[in-house]
């Protein structure tokens, strides 16, 4: 998919692009995760109707003796507020995510609500970050992010990219593009929901007439 289809009925004009940053989730020197992060960012930047940037958490200035609003970085907060969704590129460290990534993500909360997130796992071993992806899901859910069901697994990372970042396994082009297709669909759908579907859906709001009856029936059935 090279172009983003934007339905006019959703009132999302072409001059209102989707903002989907890519977050590189490790600060370690010599990190191989920078290569898949740049690769995913490059594939995403090629999508029409999408604006993206690579956010390196090593550049987010946060003290480690506080949390949330106390330490929030205004620039990172503003980027998350503007974002419609995000890609998280996360290496697996001892079966889980880097602590500093969690620290950065925890510095915001409201900024994430009802936005889409896709996870790219990275590992030195064969499992491609499958365990870090599973361990990240409940965190993202609590932050208010909506995760997609398609992931990318960069296992045995030193065999996927060389030291210069050159992709050695072309199959990852299609895998990443498939992942981005799913993410962009979720980003568009959630933006429509944020802007058009009220949380008190029994009231009905402009543009939701088509689903109002269904929601009303569902709520009625639950009573």
């Amino acid at each position: 998919m090279e172009a983003v289809f934007i339905n006019e009925e959703t009132s999302m004009p072409a001059n209102k692009p989707l903002s989907i940053p890519v977050i590189l989730g490790t600060t370690r020197q010599g990190r191989m995760s920078v290569h898949p992060a740049r690769f995913v960012h490059e594939r995403l930047a090629g999508r029409e109707g999408v604006i993206t940037e690579l956010i390196d958490i090593a550049t987010v200035p946060l003290p480690v003796d506080g949390a949330g609003d106390q330490i929030k970085d205004p620039a990172f907060s503003a980027k998350m507020e503007r974002a419609d969704g995000m890609v998280l590129v996360i290496p697996e460290y001892n079966h889980s995510f880097p602590g500093l990534l969690k620290h950065v993500l925890d510095s915001c909360l409201e900024e994430y609500i009802h936005k889409a997130a896709g996870i790219v796992g990275v590992s030195a071993g064969a499992f491609g970050g499958a365990r870090v992806i599973q361990n990240t899901l409940p965190v993202l859910r609590e932050l208010g992010l909506m995760t997609i069901f398609t992931d990318v697994y960069f296992g045995s990372i030193s065999k996927v990219f060389d030291e210069s970042g050159k992709l050695l396994q072309p199959a990852f082009v299609e895998r990443v593009d498939n992942f981005l297709d799913e993410l962009i669909w979720m980003v568009i759908t959630l933006r429509h929901g944020r802007e058009r579907v009220d949380s008190d859906t029994t009231e009905g709001v402009e543009g939701t007439e088509g689903i109002e009856g269904m929601i009303g029936m569902a709520k009625g059935g639950a009573r």
């Binding site: 949390a67 949330g68 609003d69 900024e111 609500i113 208010g144 929901g193 944020r194 802007e195 008190d200």
Partner: protein, 66 residues
């Protein structure tokens, strides 16, 4: 009454960027993060009620206490 339900006194949020009426798309109960928020805890829900709003015109996202 559920905090999700609109009341007659409910006032839609105005977009701080373009002035349009915003859509309230979420009501999330969060842990208090400060003394100020701790004073606003809804004891029946067990946390602070926060509303998330988005502007249908310009896409601005914003939030306020519920």
């Amino acid at each position: 009454m559920s905090p999700l339900a609109k009341t007659k006194s409910y006032v839609q949020m105005r977009c701080p960027v373009c002035g349009n009426l915003m859509n309230r798309h979420a009501v999330k109960v969060i842990e208090p993060r400060s003394a100020k928020e701790a004073s606003r805890v809804n004891t029946s829900l067990g946390g602070v009620v926060t509303e998330a709003h988005s502007c249908p015109a310009c896409g601005k996202n914003a939030w306020r206490a519920g």
